[in-house]
Structures are given as structure tokens and as C-alpha cells.
Amino acid sequence: MILTPLDELLLFSGATLLVALILGRGLAAGWMVTILYGGQLLTLIKMAALGYSDTIIHASINFEIMGQSLSWRFDALSWFFALITVASALLSSWFSCGEWERSFKQHGGNIWLYHSAMALNVFTMLILLASGDLLSLFIGWELVSWAGFLLMAMAGGVATRAAMRYITYAMAGGMAVFGGIALVYVAAGSLQYEAILTAVDQMSTTQLWMLVVMFGSGFGIKMGLLPFHLWQAPAYAETPGPGSAFLGAISSRMGLFAILLVLVKLFGIVNIDSLKIPFTLIDARDLLAWIAVFTIILPTFTAMKQNDARHLLAWHGIGQGGYMLLGVVVADAMGGAGGLLHVFNHATYQAALFMAVTAVIHRTGTSDLNKLGGLVVRMPLSFVVLLVGIIGLAGLPPMNGFVSKWLVYRSLLNEGMPLLFLAAVIGTLGTILSVYKLIHNIFLGQLRIEHEQVKEAPWSMMVPMLILAAIIFITGLFPGIPLAWVASVQEVIGLPVTDYTLGGVESVSGSLDMIWVIGVLFAGFGIGAVIFYSAGRSKRVHQLDNYAGGHFLSADVRYQYSDNFYAGLMHLIGGWYRGSFLWLEKSVTSLVDFISLVMQGLYRRANAEFYLLSTALFVIAWVVI
């Protein structure tokens, strides 16, 4: 039987898993796994035709079980996500081999478990992306959440507790999806996409409502949408370095992939739009939009209060997820493109940021923002990578984050949704504030005495970071490249397609051409530099030669402002951090505890039998008379 490219990809990925399992303990295991990921990327590129047209590649393996047929196939949507997954896996495993591996082993980490967990994650994600019908989608979904659990729980201690919390959420999500699939199966008779497409039109609104709620909440949990977002930050932050880079970049976007596949492609935005919430004027699409917008704002402002760099980034991961959903839910040409492009962009700079923070942890041993400072003189390249990353995360012009946020804003503008537009902008501003706190507390300010001999991260960690930074800038300069893939994805899932150019988006109501904007920006920088360097020569002074109101600065008194960074802002909004969602989660767990207490009491008391039997007799008597 001839091997379709998809078969090759899945076999390659399975092979990587096997290699990691068998040779995981060897010294060169890391490099071997990275090369294999490279191979997977090559097979993916071989299927590049998918990215530019809506052809479909079928896998030759399909099963016939219990009356259900399972099949796997790749289309533009899955190709787009697969490309991001394999690329981020390649870069994060490249980052992990070499010196990071050695120090991870020294600190008692299990490198074999790490590599095999990563390979397992990639393999399961490819299976999920390639799912041909709802049942294989669910199988892939469960596998991915369990593989994620493995990767998160391997660091032990705090990580295990965070992973436990994750798995409870993931199981709840999985069961919601399972219920949804059952309902669909009953309504449509079969789980194939084509059958569901036809069946969706006759579905009654209550049935459609049930499905949207079940699928929405199930996939929303994985994406970290608002009511279910509490698990994501600690879980991603506690995973070992490159693992968090991989998870942060792509793992929670699987939820978005599933929402795109089910809610957008199968149910179609127009149907969702028609679902009215009784006696309120908003419908399901607005509800999703508002959830997305609150998911942008609340996690971003929580991130601002974090004192640990990894937690700050993880909270931002949740926030940016809101943008993607917002873009997709607005569902006009630009919004869809914005949301999908944001998936790609976010993957690049989130991975770069996590790697930069891991490099800092690798060298200084801590990621606590109050124990770092002034590292720019000792780790300049990591500073550059972090700077490029935060400009992308904040969505400022030279980097790619700006393009996708611009598209989302333009779509909100065209659709005329002022409050959503305002909320999205508040999210961006919050990101800028907390992102500056990140780079200021780590790289700027006074260098500590103990960090004076710190060296730059080793080249094995630095090269993938620089590659990512380059990708961020290039896709910022030429957004046309990813926009091409995004356009073909839009075609596949039925959203209106944007007409993109290499530089950006062309439209009658105001277009964007990044090549011109960045060209002018760098011209401006050139002119500024000329003005600046035409004046006299400047002399570099020591960090203690600083104005302190006439006071003689000395190394033993730390002259740095980093704790409670936005004191003014916190005076006003400090009171709003009551952790209402944390309270929500606690109330659920205490309810479960209470019920279990009651049930256990039921079984323990001796005279329960008579009480129970009397009820049984009563039932019989009642039936007879």
C-alpha cells in the first residue's frame, strides 16, 4: 500500500516517540530527538501544497470499530496547526539539549521522561489535528490532555499539584465533549463531518444550544477561557523550561483548533449567531465574544501582579488566547484572519519569551522578579530576544504581534462593536504595562553583586532563541507569508477570506502595509541616530555614579525599584483583585467534599440497613396499593 505523506508524518512522529523511549537515557538523546523533529518538519513542508489550497490528504489507516468508522486526514487547518506544533517542538527540544539537559540532570530531573513526554505530546497532537471525524477527534483530544498531564507532572512537588488540578479540569472538559458527541451522534446518526453538516440545519435551537454549550465549555477549558482558566498559569509555569515554552506556544491552542473545527466549520457561525439567549438581546456569538474579551482583560491584569517571571508569562498566554477567539468569533474577513494569524504570532513570541526566562533561570538560578536586575550587561543576547518577544506580545509595530492585533481591531471597527474594541485595547495596554515590568525587573536597573560573573546563555540555548526572534521580526515585516496559510484555512472552515498582500492587508476602508511602516520606522531611527551621534562623544559611567540627591551610592545599599511596580495603579484597582474565580473553584471543591462526607456517613452507620430496607419496603407497598 502506498504511503501518503500523512502516513509518513504519523509514522515519523511515532518513530520519534520510540527513539525517545528506547534511547532516552543516552547523552546524545536530545540531539537525536531534535533531528527527528526536523525530519517531521520536512515531511510537513513536503505537504506544503495544503497550506496554499484546500486539497485534503487522507491517511491510509482507518478502523471500523463497534459500528463507527475512524479515519484520519489533513487539510489546510490541520496543516497550519501542525506546522506550528512541530516547529515549536523542534525549537524547544533543540533548546533543551546540550547544557540545559546537563543542568536539568544535575538538579535531579529525569531527562528520559522529559524527552519521551515531549515526543508523546507531539505525536498525540498530530493525531488530534489529523482527525477525520468526531470520534477520532475525541480520541485525539483525550490523548493530548493525558500527554499534557504527563509533561506537566514530571517536575514533581508543586508541578504535580498543578498537574492534578489540570487533569480534573481536562477530564471535566473531556466529558463535556463526550456528552456533546453523544448528542450529535443521536441527532445526526453518524459522526462523520459530512453527515453532521447536513444534520445541523434541522437541529432544534435547544439541541443546538446544548451542543454549543457542551462543546464550547469542553474546548474552552483546554483553551483557558474565563471561568475555567485557573489551572493554566501554574501548570504551564511549573513545567520544566523548554516544556513550558512548547506548552505555552501551542498546547492551549488545540482548544482553539477544536472550536474552529466544530463550532465554526461544522455548526457555522451563522447558526451560532441565530441562537438567541431568551429575553436578552445578545446571542451565542456575542456571549463567546464577551467571554473572549474578559479572558483578555482579567488574566492580563493578574499577570501584572505576579512576582515570578514564568507565572507572568503563563497568565499572558491565557490573555492572548482571548484575542484569537475574539478574532474568530467576529468572523468577518479581517477578524478571522487576525485570530488565526494571532495563533501563529503568539506561538513564536510566547516560546521565545519562555526560553529567554529559562535562560535567565539557567544562569542566575531564580525567576523571582524581585531578586534579579541589571542583567542586560551580562546577558545581552537574551535581552534582545526578550525585547523582541515583549514587543511582539505587546503588539507594537515592528513585530508580528501588531499585524494580528491590527486585524482584530479593524474587524471590530468594521462590525461597529465599540465596547469590545475598548476592552481589547485595555487588554493591550495592560500587556504593555506588565511586559515592561518583566523586562525592567530582569534586565534593567542595578546589577546585583552576585550576578556580576554571570555569563550569557550557552549557544545550544541561544541559537533557537535567536531563530525565534528572527521569525518574529520577519513575519512582522512580511506578514503576507503566514497570511497566505491563514487565507487557505479560512477557506476550509468557511470564513470569508481576506485579500492579503506580502506587506499586509489591502482594503478600501484603510489598509496596512508593514513593509512601508517598518521601512519608515527604521528610516526614522536612522535619522535619530544621525542626530544623536553627531553631538559629542559620550562616556559610559559605572552604575553607582548616579544622582541620589547628593548621597554617596555604595554597592551594599540596593538602589533599585522593583517591588509593587505599579504602585499608583494598584492604589486604584488593587481592591478589585478579590480572586472571585478562585473563590468559585473553592466552592465547587468544598461542595464535592461535603457530598462525599454525607455519602460516606451513609455507609458507616450500623443501623443504616434497617433504615434503607424500610424505604425499600415502603416503595413496594406504595406500588402495590
Binding site: 514533581g156 512537588g157 477530564m171 466529558m175
Partner: protein, 491 residues
């Protein structure tokens, strides 16, 4: 070939009574009699299964024609369960040698014989007799493990099953008064007109509660945690794994053949849902491994009862799939519990000492929770698609409760798994996980291998179960085989 069938019940009974005598004379010879009998029983049932023409047949015991005499009805489902009884009896054979080994082995033979009878019997009163035998032998076996708590548990179980059997007798009496016959096939013929009223329903409920004691039905399963926690875990594995399934099989037969009133299925559904809720939530707080497994088995049985409440043929398929899967998993887990024993927090960092046990636990937990490639998922899938298909809102509640139960199950099972894989054991707790009992670990890995084998051959097994379910569902096939068949052959 089918007359040998009687031997599968007769031989263990004979062995049960002869064993103490043989044991007293020569211990060595006595030790091997039990396993030999059971082995022979498995062999009979095995080749009956292979060579049988797939058609059910009925054997009249003692030559009397069915309406008067007692007959054994053997269709694919009954054969499956009988074979399972013999096999598990062999696996969980109490090999330990101490002063009351003969008593324990004799009771075990008795238990296996009566269980096989329960599976095969076609007569209502015969069922009641075998049910009593099972109850008596379980008392003896639990009491045999001679610990204080065991006695207390036995007494509680004694009271409950006593009341249960009284109720069953009351039900049977009602039926007999109404129809004048006790043969299932004959009853099936008469049921539509005579038992279709309130009296029939009352009779069914009485029998349901009576047999429910053994099937861990909600109101009457308070004995389960005590018994399973205190009895020898090999015995509790056998009880939880198999005997409760047989009792549920009897209820299923009654439901399929005789009682078709909708209220009956509703009552079962409600009790099933309550069983799931109470079982799963109680397991959330369990401190001791075996008690947690006991509660979890109550929950799983509740799920199976929900499946029983499903009217059509796929419902039966769900019941079969779930019960077989639960049998495999629960016995494996009990074996692991025997291998570890004791409270949950002594398991900290245990995966480091015995990785195989840790791996098996995770495998069983994953399958119980319904991780896709494993069979647990397919069993759940059939149940859920069936539940979703019903229009009755009560089934919807059943679906929600079942989904919620899986989430809770996942959280408490994996809390234990996480504790086991805690790489950095806290300093003061010395890892004193008990030395791995060789025997129980091998049996557990046997079940693990069985599970993996089922995973691989899921589709063929699926079809086979479908055929079994179709056959069981077919009422008039049952009547036709039992009644029109000429008087049983001589010899």
C-alpha cells in the same frame, strides 16, 4: 456433549463435601483436587463454547419435562458467565496453607458451583436456591479470614442477605400464586397477561431488592465497604468482580423475559443513578485502598444498572461490555491492593520500588476512566450513545451523573497515582511499601495482559458481544428452545 454440563455444577458440589475428608487423610492430594475440578469445568465450558453450534439449548435435570422439572438454559450469555466463574474461581483459588485451608477451599468450591448454577439455571426457584448457596458460602469465606472486623462485617452482611432472601422468597411466592409455575420460559409465556399488573410489579421489586443485596444495588449495599475492606482481597476480588455481576445477570433475565412494565426500568434507573452518586462521592474521601475500590465498584455497578435500564438490544450490549470490563479491571485492582494493602499515604514514592505495580495501576485507572484506545472507552461510548438516544429526561440525568462520576473517578484515582509517582518522598516517611507478594502481582499482570489483549482485538470482540446480546434479547427464542424441545435425552 451438553450432558457434561451438569458435571460443571455437580463435580464442585461433590468436591466441596468430600474435600475435608480427603484433606484429613493426605494434605498433598487434597490440595490439588479443587483446582483440578475447576480446571475440568473450564475445559468443558471452553470446548462447548468453541464447538457449540451457537444455538442455545436446554437440559432438563432428572428427565422431568420443563414445566414440572428444573431445566438449565444455556445460551451464549449464560455460557460466557459460567466460563468466567470457573476461570476466576481457578485464578482466585485460596492457595494459602494454614489450619482451616480445607474449610476455606471447600467453601470456595461450593461458591463456584452455586455461581455457575446461578448463571445457567432456567427455573426461578432453582435460582433462589443457588442464590442462598452463594450467600452461605460467602459468609463462611469472609468469616474464615478470622479478623475481628471481618466478623462484624459478616454479621452485617448476614442480616442484610437474610432479609434480602426473605424478600426474594416473598416475590417468588407472589409469582407462583399468580401464575402457578416457576419455570422462566413458561412464565415468559404467561407474563404478558397475568403479571402485567401492580402485583407483578410488586413481585419484581421484591425480587429486585432481594437479589439487589448481592448486586450491590443502592439501598442495600451498605455491607460492601466493610466486607471488601476486611475480607481477603482475593476473595473480595472474586466477589466484586464476578458474583455481583451474576446477581445482576439474574435481574437482567427477569427484566428481559418477564417484566416489561416501564415502571420497573424506571426504578432500576433511579436506584442505579443513586448508586453511582453514592459510590463515586464516597470513594472521593476514602483513606484506605480497598475501601476506595469497594466504593468505586458500587459506583461502577450503579453505572451497569443504568445500562440495564436501557430498553433495547444495544442496552444489553452496553451491560455486557461494562460488566466484563469492570470484572477485568476490578479484579486486577484488588490484586494490586492485596499486593500493597494498607492506607493510601503509605504508597508515597512507591513507583520507585515496584515500577510494574505502578504501571499496572495507571493502566487500570486509565481504562476505568475511559482513555480512548483502551476498552473502557468503547464500553462507555456504547452506553453514552444509548443514553443520549432516549427521550425520557431521566436518562439525560443519568448521562450527566455518569459524566460527572467519571470526572470524580479520574481525580481520586490519579490522586493516588500522583502520590505513587512522587519522586521526592518526604524525608520522615520511610518507603515501607510491603514486599511485593509474588502471586498477587503475577495475577494482576495477568489481568493487565488480558486488558491489553482486549484493546488490540476490540472490533472482533465487539461483534461477538453484539451477537450474544442479540441472542439474550430474543424472548421467544428462549421459550421455543425450553418448551418445544422433546424431553431431555435419557442417560
Amino acid at each position: 456433549m451438553n450432558e457434561h454440563l451438569m458435571l460443571t455444577i455437580a463435580l464442585p458440589l461433590l468436591g466441596a463435601f468430600l474435600l475435608p475428608i480427603i484433606m484429613r487423610s493426605s494434605l498433598a492430594m487434597g490440595v490439588w483436587i479443587g483446582p483440578a475440578i475447576l480446571g475440568y469445568g473450564c475445559w468443558i465450558l471452553g470446548n462447548l463454547w468453541l464447538h457449540g453450534n451457537g444455538q442455545p439449548f436446554s437440559i432438563a435435570i432428572g428427565g422431568f419435562a420443563p414445566p414440572i422439572g428444573i431445566n438449565l438454559y444455556v445460551d451464549a450469555m449464560a455460557l460466557l458467565f459460567a466460563f468466567a466463574t470457573q476461570l476466576l474461581g481457578l485464578i482466585f483459588w485460596p492457595f494459602r496453607l494454614d489450619q482451616d485451608t480445607p474449610k476455606r477451599q471447600a467453601l470456595m468450591l461450593l461458591l463456584v458451583a452455586s455461581s455457575t448454577g446461578l448463571a445457567l439455571s432456567g427455573d426461578l426457584f432453582n435460582l433462589y436456591v443457588f442464590y442462598e448457596l452463594v450467600a452461605v458460602s460467602t459468609f463462611g469465606l469472609i468469616a474464615a479470614s478470622s479478623s475481628g472486623a471481618a466478623y462484624v462485617a459478616t454479621i452485617r452482611y448476614l442480616i442484610l442477605s437474610g432479609i434480602g432472601s426473605v424478600l426474594t422468597l416473598f416475590g417468588i411466592a407472589l409469582i407462583y400464586a399468580q401464575t402457578g409455575t416457576l419455570n422462566l420460559a413458561h412464565l415468559a409465556q404467561l407474563a404478558p397477561d397475568q403479571l402485567n399488573n401492580d402485583l407483578g410489579l410488586a413481585a419484581f421489586l421484591a425480587i429486585l431488592i432481594g437479589i439487589g443485596v448481592k448486586a450491590e444495588l443502592f439501598p442495600v449495599n451498605t455491607w460492601v465497604p466493610e466486607v471488601y475492606a476486611t475480607a481477603a482481597s482475593r476473595l473480595s476480588a472474586f466477589l466484586a468482580g464476578l458474583v455481583s455481576k451474576l446477581a445482576m445477570l439474574v435481574i437482567l433475565r427477569l427484566l428481559l423475559l418477564i417484566f416489561h412494565q416501564p415502571e420497573a426500568t424506571q426504578v432500576i434507573l433511579i436506584l442505579g443513578i443513586l448508586g453511582v452518586i453514592s459510590g463515586e462521592f464516597a470513594a472521593w474521601r476514602a483513606k484506605d485502598m480497598r475501601r476506595m475500590l469497594a466504593f468505586s465498584s458500587i459506583g461502577q455497578l450503579g453505572v451497569i444498572f443504568i445500562a440495564v435500564a436501557l430498553p433495547d438490544e444495544r442496552g444489553v450490549l452496553a451491560v455486557l461490555a461494562l460488566s466484563l470490563h469492570h470484572m477485568l479491571i476490578k479484579s486486577g485492582l484488588f490484586m494490586l491492593a492485596d499486593h500493597w494493602g494498607g492506607s493510601l499515604d503509605r504508597l508515597r514514592g512507591l513507583a520507585a520500588t515496584s515500577p510494574l505495580a505502578g504501571g499496572l495501576f495507571v493502566l487500570f485507572a486509565l481504562s476505568l476512566v475511559g482513555m480512548p484506545p483502551l476498552p473502557g472507552f468503547w464500553a462507555k461510548f456504547t452506553l453514552i450513545t444509548e443514553l443520549a438516544g432516549q427521550t425520557d429526561p431521566l436518562y439525560m440525568i443519568g448521562l450527566l451523573v455518569f459524566l460527572l462520576a467519571t470526572v470524580i473517578e479520574a481525580s481520586y484515582l490519579f490522586r493516588v497515582a500522583a502520590k505513587m509517582y512522587q519522586t521526592k518522598p518526604t524525608e520522615n516517611v520511610r518507603i515501607n511499601a510491603p514486599d511485593s507478594g509474588g502471586l498477587s502481582l503475577t495475577t494482576a499482570s495477568l489481568f493487565g495482559a488480558g486488558l491489553i489483549a482486549v484493546t488490540v482485538m476490540v472490533s472482533p470482540l465487539g461483534e461477538a458481544l453484539q451477537a450474544v446480546a442479540a441472542q439474550a434479547q430474543d424472548v421467544d427464542l428462549y421459550i421455543q428452545t425450553v418448551l418445544q424441545q422433546p424431553l431431555g435425552e435419557r442417560q
